[in-house]
């Protein structure tokens, strides 16, 4: 997986955007009526577009699920290997009503989320800390650079087996796997964010009398925040990967474990049902991260909307 792929759309922020001035920055009064009319038309157009998008999404889902269901029902492909949507729904329903082989369904979700969230938080904090540290101290960055590149190049999920030995069946083994995956993404973004800070802003702050500490807390960190927050979107997905892979190396509960046990019993529908649940959890987490982003970066002209731009 590529770790440097999170160039935030916010990278333009550093170079002081020149957005069109807001309405109050000088517009004639007589233009008010036309403006209101225009705004109305524009918002109606935007709503139509939104409806179209949702419609197309629905259509996509129907075609996708429908063709899957149809092709398995007509035995064009063997449902034993690819499962079938109705079977997945059925499996989900049994899990919800009767519980899973490992216990109640909510418990499995809670276990995996706990592992992922703990790993995500620890990994992000470490990533931000070391990213800023190395971004600020050139000598340290140059010294450690080959080690970091090497560590980034190896497939770190294999560390999961090591953590399983260290932490046994406890949640820490899974959280630790999530930590190593999250850390590097956040680290590289924080590091790059610090490097990309507008030199003008640093010069201005220094002239205004900021010492090194102020420079870091008031200029560098807020400036790097766009990058860091952008990396959090990707890294929560990685935290879930870490938790699930961690469960592979030994667990008694969790969605990952649920998926493996379904796989071991050739229950393809169970595998898909587990994947579906993971996706739902990831989307919910994504929503929280977007909300956090909007809260922390209210100074940016184009706020991150709930929609995921691809």
């Amino acid at each position: 997986m590529s770790v440097r792929s999170t160039l935030p759309q916010a990278s333009v922020v550093g170079e002081s955007p020149h957005p069109s001035p807001p309405p109050q920055a000088g517009e004639g009064n007589q233009a008010g009526i036309i403006d209101a009319d225009l705004t109305g038309r524009r918002s109606r157009a935007a709503r139509r577009r939104l409806i179209t998008i949702y419609g197309l999404r629905l259509l996509f889902t129907v075609v996708w699920i429908g063709s899957w269901e149809l092709s398995t029902r007509l035995n064009w492909v063997d449902p034993f290997f690819v499962g079938m949507p109705s079977g997945v729904v059925q499996r989900l329903w049994t899990w919800i009503t009767e519980g899973t082989a490992l216990g109640p369904l909510w418990l499995q979700a809670a276990v995996t989320m706990e592992e992922a969230v703990i790993g995500f938080i620890i990994g992000s904090l470490l990533g931000v800390f070391f990213g800023i540290l190395l971004g600020r101290i050139e000598l340290l960055a140059q010294t450690l650079s080959p080690f970091i590149k090497a560590a980034n190049a190896i497939p770190r999920v294999v560390l999961g087996s090591l953590f399983a030995i260290m932490f046994g069946l406890s949640l820490w083994g899974k959280a630790a796997t999530a930590v190593v995956l999250v850390f590097f993404v956040v680290f590289f973004n924080a590091f790059q964010g610090v490097r990309e800070v507008d030199r003008n802003l640093i010069a201005n702050a220094r002239i205004l009398g900021a010492d090194n500490r102020r420079l870091t807390t008031e200029i560098i960190i807020p400036s790097a925040l766009s990058w860091i927050l952008a990396s959090l979107h990707i890294s929560f997905g990685l935290a879930i990967v870490g938790a699930v892979v961690g469960e592979l190396f030994g667990a008694t509960a969790g969605l990952g474990e649920l998926i493996y046990s379904a796989g071991h019993t050739f229950d393809v529908n169970g595998v898909f049902a587990g994947m579906f649940l993971l996706a739902v959890l990831a989307l919910i987490a994504e929503g929280f991260i977007s909300a956090l982003e909007n809260r922390l970066i209210k100074w940016r002209p184009n706020r991150v909307s709930g929609e995921i731009p691809i």
């Binding site: 955007p17 001035p21 920055a25 010069a203 201005n204 009398g209 807020p222 209210k298 002209p301």
Partner: protein, 269 residues
């Protein structure tokens, strides 16, 4: 006579270029600015005008020669220096109030004090009512006012301005120039105002220094004996203004041509 506020003696500044060469921005530049004087520095593009300011502010150190501010050699950023940047340098994540209050807070003023003083300055630059806006919600001229208030609130004895109004439209520009003059009149700061616009330089300054095409050095110095207070928009019509303009332009023109030829060659090569 009082000792100069700013002295540059035989200053040379070289930069390493990315290709491993050496680029000389300034060569043997000597310049003095008296306390309370408004000194404009003009020259063609790329003559090291901005470098001059960077040296005075301590953001860069001279390769050779001596830079002194208020008699003390510049080794870091000297006390009492303000800097208004060419590009926006207001902090985009701070509100107008927090932007202007930054200086006093960095100098250890308690938050409430700093904000009170900031409100005062925001009013003085005509932005009352915009305290809670973020920079992206302001027009270019308004952001410039924030930048001006941000530097002036620290009460600088030396104010360095790097083509501060070059990005503004003509009307906003002469408005801001007039405001700068009236704000400056209420202080006793020495100003070094870098610009490529000779009209602006004459309209604002007590003295205009012409820098040669890079590597920059002083080509000539001209007193501007136009009476104050001045109205920047109207002073251009005075015969004396035209005389001074012609005298300086005859010097500046050659440098502009040299610089233009070089750019043409650089573009062709």
């Amino acid at each position: 006579m009082a000792s100069p506020a700013i002295e540059l003696h035989g200053v040379t500044k070289r930069f390493a270029t990315p290709k491993g060469g050496v680029y000389t921005a300034l060569r043997d530049l000597t310049l003095e600015v008296a306390p309370g004087e408004f000194c404009a520095v003009v020259g063609p593009t790329g003559c090291g005008k901005s470098t001059t300011l960077a040296l005075i502010s301590g953001l860069e150190l001279a390769s050779n020669g001596e830079v002194r501010v208020e008699g003390r050699p510049v080794k870091g950023i000297p006390e009492g220096v303000g800097y208004v940047f060419q590009n926006d340098a207001v902090f985009p994540w701070k509100s107008v109030l927090e932007n202007v209050a930054a200086g006093p807070r960095y100098h250890g003023a308690p938050g409430r004090d700093a904000r009170d003083r900031a409100r005062e300055w925001i009013t003085r630059v005509g932005l009352a009512g915009f305290e809670d806006r973020f920079p992206y919600q302001l027009s270019g001229g308004m952001r410039k006012r924030v930048g001006l208030a941000q530097s002036l609130i620290n009460g600088p004895r030396i104010l360095l301005m790097d083509e501060p109004f070059s990005a503004l439209d003509v009307q906003t520009r002469s408005l801001m120039e007039n405001e700068l003059l009236s704000l400056w009149a209420s202080t006793s700061a020495s100003v070094v105002f870098v610009t490529h616009d000779l009209e602006e330089a004459i309209a604002l300054a007590d003295r205009v220094v012409v820098i040669t095409a890079g590597p920059g050095t002083v080509k000539g110095t001209y007193e501007v004996d136009l009476p104050r207070p001045r109205n920047v928009a109207e002073i251009r019509f005075q015969p004396r203004f035209t005389q001074i303009y012609e005298a300086i332009w005859s010097q500046l023109r050659d440098e502009v041509l040299v610089s233009y030829e070089r750019q043409k060659h650089a573009a062709a090569g």
